[in-house]
């Protein structure tokens, strides 16, 4: 982290960048939040640890409109989102100085809590430079420990890899954290009967409180005005007409990001209700891979996305239809 802060200071001092986009400590030890730093002295608040899961690439949409460059800290998985935003002309590559930061897997406070660890006051071992594979946690009930891997976000268990897809320089090393296939869960859902699937999604989506956190955090949901906020389409009232009222919102959202979603996992990370929203997107990704060949959104900025491209090898609509 110190290396990052030092480099940020240098870049601010020599005028390469006008501001730094990173994370600062939150009010609890496990909720750092995205933050801009415009002066060297502000960087005392800068943090980068295992809880910095937030994908900063979407902030670059607004940062691209500001004067001067912004140093932005992107983890390997975040760079896919950034590339996708370049492709969609939503961020200006020239306005970003990308520091590719190392990552050894990001932590999920809910997983720690599920192990019965409550009243957390301090967590040690979450720094990138920490060698230990165990977190030491001070709580008001005494000291506890938790294996790092057991506290990782689901998305880190299916990590896309240590490589940054786009960057100006790299700071810090990354760990291999992948130990599962990202389509396992989807494959399980696919074996369910339509009734079981319906029941599953009804149960999950019924938890939705429509706080819009998933939409607001999603780098693919970058529309200037969301169709659900617009009076132009009468789609706002389409959101809640059924027994589990928010299903249309989530299904329409999944369609809107289909083929553009990089599977960054932010939607599920921020959902206060713990809805596994990433499953919708992964189902689309799996189908796209199977029907049109493997495609990773954001892996580059030139390839044509399968859903907005036509080739002679494309699956016939009848085949897509039969799969349901």
């Amino acid at each position: 982290m110190q290396e990052l802060v030092n480099r940020a200071k240098e870049l601010l001092a020599d005028g390469t960048v006008a501001r730094v986009l990173g994370w600062k400590a939150g009010d609890l030890p496990y909720n750092p939040e995205p933050a801009y730093f415009e002066k060297a002295e502000e960087l005392v608040d800068f943090v980068y640890n295992g809880f910095c899961g937030a994908n900063l690439s979407k902030y670059m949409i607004e940062a691209s409109k500001l004067e001067g460059k912004t140093m932005v800290c992107l983890k390997p998985c975040d760079t896919y989102s950034f590339n996708q935003l370049i492709k969609e002309h939503r961020v200006d590559r020239d306005k970003a100085y990308i520091v590719g930061v190392g990552c050894k897997g990001k932590l999920d406070i809910e997983k720690i809590r599920k192990q019965g660890i409550k009243g957390i006051e301090l967590i040690q071992g979450a720094e990138l430079t920490d060698e230990a594979d165990t977190l030491k946690i001070q709580t008001i009930y005494g000291d506890k420990t938790c294996a790092y891997a057991d506290a990782m976000l689901e998305r880190c268990h299916v990590c896309k890899g240590k490589e940054h897809m786009v960057y100006d320089e790299l700071i810090g090393d990354s760990n291999e954290t992948k130990d599962a296939d990202r389509f396992d869960e989807v494959a399980k859902l696919e074996t369910m009967s339509p009734e079981e699937k319906f029941a599953f999604f009804q149960k999950e989506l019924s938890k939705c409180i429509r706080c819009n956190a998933c939409r607001n955090v999603c780098p693919a949901c970058s529309c200037r005005k969301c169709v659900f906020d617009s009076t132009k389409f009468d789609s706002s009232q389409k959101a809640n007409v059924d027994s589990f009222e928010e299903k249309m919102f989530h299904i329409i959202r999944a369609f809107h990001v289909a083929g553009r979603c990089t599977d960054c996992g932010e939607c599920s990370r921020v959902c206060p209700q713990g809805i596994p929203l990433h499953l919708f997107n992964r189902k689309f990704i799996k189908d796209i891979d199977e029907l049109y060949g493997e495609y990773q959104a954001g892996a580059d900025i030139t390839s044509k996305a399968p859903l907005t491209n036509y080739t002679f090898e494309d699956a016939e609509p009848s085949i897509v239809g039969k799969r349901g």
């Binding site: 005005k225 009468d234 036509y310 002679f312």
Partner: protein, 662 residues
């Protein structure tokens, strides 16, 4: 609020027998905005249209719904009727209660319910309709014909005779197509070359026709009346202007092992070649794959012997860009690959050949100089078996579900010609049905049977087994006598199914012309617009649209020409006002719409916007309404809903869905 009139058509008994039309009228009165509703026996008739006109004027209608047949049938009729009565034609909506309802349902109560729902959806849409005005676009008075076979040649000649410039683009080194490979033609048995060559010469000599051979269409943009086409002229390696067509280069070329495309690979040709003697243009091309000079850098014999100095090894592909008002597709056919029909031993024996190969064998310019002989040992055959429907009328996915249409007749022709020239040869034909509808066709077939003694057996062949002595054992069944047949033959001829030229998929995509599951180009209406593609300005000529013989092809080629001439004769076209527009406040500038637009109608501009007080420059999609064809692909691809189609706005579509779900 609109003042809407609803007109429910009985279509004789087509609709009224299944849908309670008076109930539909009754329900119409209960819909918001409806101030008039009536039913009539034939709304499209003069009297029906007069009723519409009267209602528009008396009730001061601002919109109307006709519950009738498909809009593809009569939308234009009702729009014109409305316009004559002073109503904007785009305020007319059709509820298709015939094809979508009465024709496909039996229960009157259910069908009536559905008709009411379809009507409601149309009324909901009309409530949001706005008057639209078509624009104008110009017509480039030049036509492009893709394919230089008999279909393309005939279409080109007919268009050129009407006084318009025509370009033919032909992929191979010469025009002439499949017909040039045929020996004799049914039902008159005149020589194919004798009737085709004059047509080829006429096309080539016509002052209004320009022929690009050894060329392919590379890119098509634009729209009806104003297409821009890139044509790739492949490097011929021979200067067309200098070459005198003397043929010495072909004689002297030391590389003579390339399979002759013209003779279906039954013999070989030189690396520098013209496909056949009557080729037009009579200028050879160098097949760079086979040429020693291109392969090793050494040789250059053709260049040395060419008196005219026409050989140019450095020649490169050239792209020519031209503008056209109309495009005619005449890409023709090929025979199917017989890989999946190995029971007929095509890959195992040289004496099992396709009918098209037999054409070459029978032809004086063919590999055997017209002598009927076995290709394995050159011996004269005594027993020949013809197998019909190889890959045609096939119920599984090995072959084609359709009838190739020409095989019954050409097999009768082959059988007759063989029996005439070689009376000692026995000819047996295995068939499923003999199909001979056509002028003088059945008489022709009967002559083969009655006069020439061809042995027709109704039944299919299960297997052809090559014997050690070189004979072919044919295992078949005789369905009329209900017995199995084992027959030794010296030659077996397969009436191989035809399929559209494989290139047609690529071409159809460039033209945005639709194709069916068999890769035949789809016509705008199977009965009433058989030579037009649903894509405006694209016309269909010959087998690319469906199997047909030469007389039918020529007739259709002429029909396609007439349709193209009808278009080229106009100075201006009215453009469809149902085009897309982007809402500058909603547009993200993300390029999704640009990626999906098949017409290249969308570009991006940096525009100053004032978004509720926020002034900034944004990348905004801009639609060229002259290029936009109103397909709506952009509106569904746009994530923010900024793209909207006039006449089919997102709100209108959702209103229709809401009305249906109500």
């Amino acid at each position: 609020m609109q003042r809407i009139g609803v007109f429910v058509c009985h279509c004789g008994s087509n609709i009224a027998a299944t849908v309670d039309v008076s109930k539909v009228v009754e329900m119409a009165h209960m819909e918001p905005g409806v101030v008039h509703a009536e039913d009539y026996q034939y709304m499209c008739s003069e009297a029906g249209q007069a009723k519409i006109a009267a209602a528009i004027q008396e009730k001061k209608l601002t919109g109307m719904v006709v519950c009738s047949c498909s809009p593809r049938m009569h939308e234009a009729t009702f729009r014109k009727a409305a316009e004559r009565a002073g109503l904007n034609p785009y305020m007319v909506e059709i509820a298709n209660i015939r094809e979508h309802c009465s024709w496909i349902h039996k229960d009157m109560e259910e069908a009536t319910k559905k008709a009411v729902i379809l009507m409601r959806a149309a009324i909901a849409k009309v409530n949001l309709n706005a008057p639209l005005q078509p624009g104008e676009s110009r017509v480039t008075k030049r036509a492009l014909v893709i394919g230089g076979g008999i279909a393309g040649i005939q279409t080109a000649i007919d268009i050129a005779d009407a006084g318009y410039e025509v370009d033919i683009v032909e992929k191979t080194p010469s025009i002439g197509g499949r017909m040039s490979q045929l020996d004799k033609t049914f039902p008159t048995l005149d020589c194919s070359a004798c009737i085709l060559t004059p047509k080829m010469v006429e096309a080539s000599a016509h002052e209004k026709i320009n022929i690009y051979t050894y060329s392919e269409v590379e890119k098509v943009s634009g729209f009806v009346g104003d297409f821009t086409v890139d044509i790739r002229k492949k490097a011929r390696s021979v200067d067309m202007d200098k070459c005198t067509g003397c043929g010495v280069c072909q004689e002297k070329c030391p590389s003579k092992k390339a399979p002759s495309e013209f003779n279906r690979g039954l013999n070989t040709r030189s690396a520098i070649y013209t496909p056949f003697a009557q080729a037009i243009p009579n200028v050879p091309v160098i097949d760079r794959e086979a040429c020693i000079k291109f392969k090793t850098g050494k040789c250059g014999v053709c260049s040395k012997v060419c008196q005219a100095g026409a050989i140019d090894y450095e020649q490169k592909d050239e792209i020519v860009t031209e503008k056209y008002g109309a495009i005619v597709v005449a890409t023709g056919f090929d025979t199917i690959n017989l890989e999946k029909y190995d029971e007929y031993a095509y890959s195992q024996s040289k004496d099992v050949i396709t009918s098209l190969e037999l054409e070459r064998v029978m032809n004086a310019a063919g590999p055997t100089h017209g002598h009927l002989e076995r290709l394995s040992d050159g011996k004269a055959p005594k027993e020949i078996v013809f197998i019909q429907c190889v890959g045609s009328r096939c119920s599984d996915d090995r072959g084609k579900p359709y009838c190739s249409k020409i095989c019954c007749m050409y097999t009768a022709k082959h059988a007759m010609l063989i029996r005439d020239k070689y009376p000692d040869v026995n000819v047996t034909v295995f068939y499923i049905d003999v199909r001979t509808p056509g002028k003088n066709f059945d008489e022709f077939y009967r002559r083969a049977v009655e006069q020439y003694g061809v042995n027709y057996i109704k039944g299919q062949v299960g297997k052809v087994i090559p014997q050690p002595d070189g004979k072919l054992l044919v295992q078949g069944s005789d369905l009329l006598d209900n017995k199995q047949i084992l027959k030794e033959a010296d030659m077996v001829v397969l009436a191989t199914a035809i399929e559209p030229n494989p290139d047609v998929r690529r071409i159809a995509t460039m033209l945005t012309a639709s194709i069916d599951t068999n890769n035949f180009l789809t016509e705008a209406h199977a009965k009433l617009r058989p030579v037009e593609s649903p894509t405006a300005g694209i016309f269909l000529s010959g087998v690319c649209q469906g199997p047909k013989d030469i007389p039918e092809t020529v007739a259709q080629a002429g029909a396609a020409a007439v349709k193209a001439i009808g278009l080229l004769a106009k100075d201006k076209l009215l453009t469809n006002p149902c085009t897309a527009q982007s809402d500058i406040l909603l547009c993200n500038g993300c390029s999704t719409c640009e990626n999906v637009c098949p017409y290249g109608a969308i570009t991006y501009e940096d525009k100053e916007v004032n978004d509720h007080g926020i002034r900034e420059t944004r990348r905004i999609a801009v639609v060229n309404s002259a290029l936009c064809q109103g397909c709506g692909a952009c509106t569904v691809a746009c994530p923010s809903g900024a793209m909207d189609l006039q006449g089919f706005s997102n709100r209108q579509i959702i209103a229709e869905v809401d009305a249906i779900c109500r």
